[in-house]
Amino acid sequence: MSDEILKNDEMQEIIDEFVTESSELIENVIQDVVIIEHNPDEEIVNGIFRAVHTIKGTSSFLGFNALSQLAHKAEDVMGVIRKGEMKPDQEIADVLLEAFDLIKLMIEDIRAKSPEERGTNAAIERLEDLLKEDRKKIGEILVEEKVITRDERDEVLEKQKQEKEKKFGEIVVEEKLITETQLNNFLSKQKAVKEEQTIRIDVKKLDELMNLVGELVLGKNRLILLDSLVKKGSEGDGILDNLGDVTGYIEGITNGLQLSVMRARLVPIGKLFNKVPRQVRDLCGEFNKDIELKIEGENTELDRSLIEALHDPLIHIIRNSVDHGIEAPEERMKKGKRTKGMLSIKAYNEGNHVIIEVFDDGKGIDIQAVKEKVKEKGIMGDTELNNLSEKEAMNLIFIPGLSTAKKISKVSGRGVGMDVVKTNIEKMNGQAYIDSEEGKWSRLTIRLPLTLAIMRALIVKITDGLFAVPLNTVVELVKIREGLIKSVDKNEVFVLRDIVIPIVDLSKTFSEDGSNGKGGYLVICNIADKIIGIKVHAVVGQEEVVIKPLGEFLKNIKGISGATIRGDGKVIPILDIPGVISSFNIQRRMTSQQLTAAGVAAS
């Protein structure tokens, strides 16, 4: 164990977090192993695999090598079970539990800062025995299935003795006894693992909340008293005054509560980014790369639960960038690139979303290789693949079990990474997509909605319906006057201080009769480099709204990001401005020439 790390205060925070997280994980793993012994449920097996994968990864970069090695072997065994090549019977479960108990002890050691020499060799050996046995077993299965003959199997086993690195399956494929697709048939789709349901909170913040709740109870009591007074029939100014008092009192407490809860949940993303430099440094050493790291937007705040859920995906993404993305210095020199590779991580707000970009100037994505792999795995046929756009083809890398890396390394290349990234992000209701130029760069973008957040919104009326427009996207309001709007074909634009702004009339898409009311306002919204004017019939005012998700059933409706409940109990939808813009652009692209013409004509 690395003493040098333990001395460092900053590292201590990271280690503490690792300890808390890992002990939770390992606790669950131990329980789950007992379950799969009787019921090898695919989802639970995947859960164990990923948990061990995470422990292995984090412990490795924190320098807890013994722990990492043990976890690595346990992961290998879980990998075999996950592929369905091995049934977790009692014997296997015993060995696994032994290993996991040891991992748990080692994590406790780290917590107690009393690193003890614990022999992991015995446990590792037993895990390896399982793997050997499994090779025999898969050979037997293939013989039983009459895919290969007994002689062929013995031959392969003989070969395996010479090339210990290789797995039985690999050799069988190499010898062309079976195809890789056949071998991979059992690779089942990964399913989302249940997310941690607990969050850690500073006791001080909890006390603050408790105080506020206490005051809220006092307020409630005052209300009850008033209520009984009114029921008794006493009237008069006294009661009204009192009611005003109580209302003000409760309003104050509610605001306080809102703030405290928000503050308790929001953390700057820097907490997550802190770990990156160290990780990149270690990875550089391991893979012999030279990388310059840039981090921007550490102060972007994010819900605590999102930060936690982002941890694994970010680790995977960075590993991928360092291992597979950025080339070794010599290679970069040959290609005429700067020898120092560049990895940049950036976080920023866009509307009610947080965007995290991981950019590297490495070799980008080899679309052809991805396509071949997909075909090889039998996921898509030629025609389907040919119909994909370049961007769609790149995003195939998110398919479970797909890794374009030729060999399995300690940190990546098991085909776990990218699909873990995607599942985790999607569980948070976010999106992950990749952009790349082959040979030059690749950029992974994560877009997360700020669910749970409270935001200021402009309440507007479109035909008869009320809608909330996130105030941070609103630039200004313009009253619609005669002649303000220029119309080209069916598209409307108007010119504001020499900028041509396309107009979106949502009444056409949002209401059934599509009546186009006269007058009203244009709400000018600006996101990144895009600007639009939304036609509304009336502006009601500004309000602080609590964003509520529309639920599983309606979560992906374009142009609507959620809803909120107003003081009177009415539900109003919240407009998703980026969504509106993107669907609007689809309409616009067809008439872009006319649009330009209109712009010229108007100015």
């Binding site: 319906g465 949502l506 898409t509 949002f510 209401s511 509520k548 998700p549 529309l550 639920g551 599983e552 059933f553 309606l554 992906n556 409706i557 374009k558 142009g559 609507i560 809803a563 409940i565 109990g569 009415k570 539900v571 109003i572 939808p573 969504g579 509106v580 669907s583 609007f584 689809i586 309409q587």
Partner: protein, 155 residues
Amino acid sequence: MDDGKILQLVTFKLENEEFGVDILKVQEINKMMNITKIPNAPSFIEGVINLRGKIIPIIDLRKRLGFHNRVYDKSTRIIVVELDGLVLGFIVDSVSEVLRIPGNTIEPPPSIVAGIESDYIEGVGKLNDRLLILLELKKIFASPERKEIENIEMN
């Protein structure tokens, strides 16, 4: 169907047909509430309501099952159900009663009942001279429709 089991059903009416759903799936029954339309939602989704601070989608069962539209009236009800952790409500003409019927009186559905695809029907219960259609709620709100919902575009 488990023969010896007594089923408890909430029965309701649509058009002239009588339907039943397992009472264990029913969370509550409400009078018609103020429904907020959600633009771009699939047509059978009437909108959303505020159920004590939670926003839940409301499905018009008439539209879903292909009956004609009907103006909501005093007897219109919203039945709120929970399916696999997903809470949603659906609008019916009226709610009749809670029935206890033995499982063995329920027969598998004929291929077409009252114009409804048999996929949506769990079985048909016979009660004296009445016929009760047991709806398979999971199928009614299941995958192809969820897919449809996911694929909604602005136009």
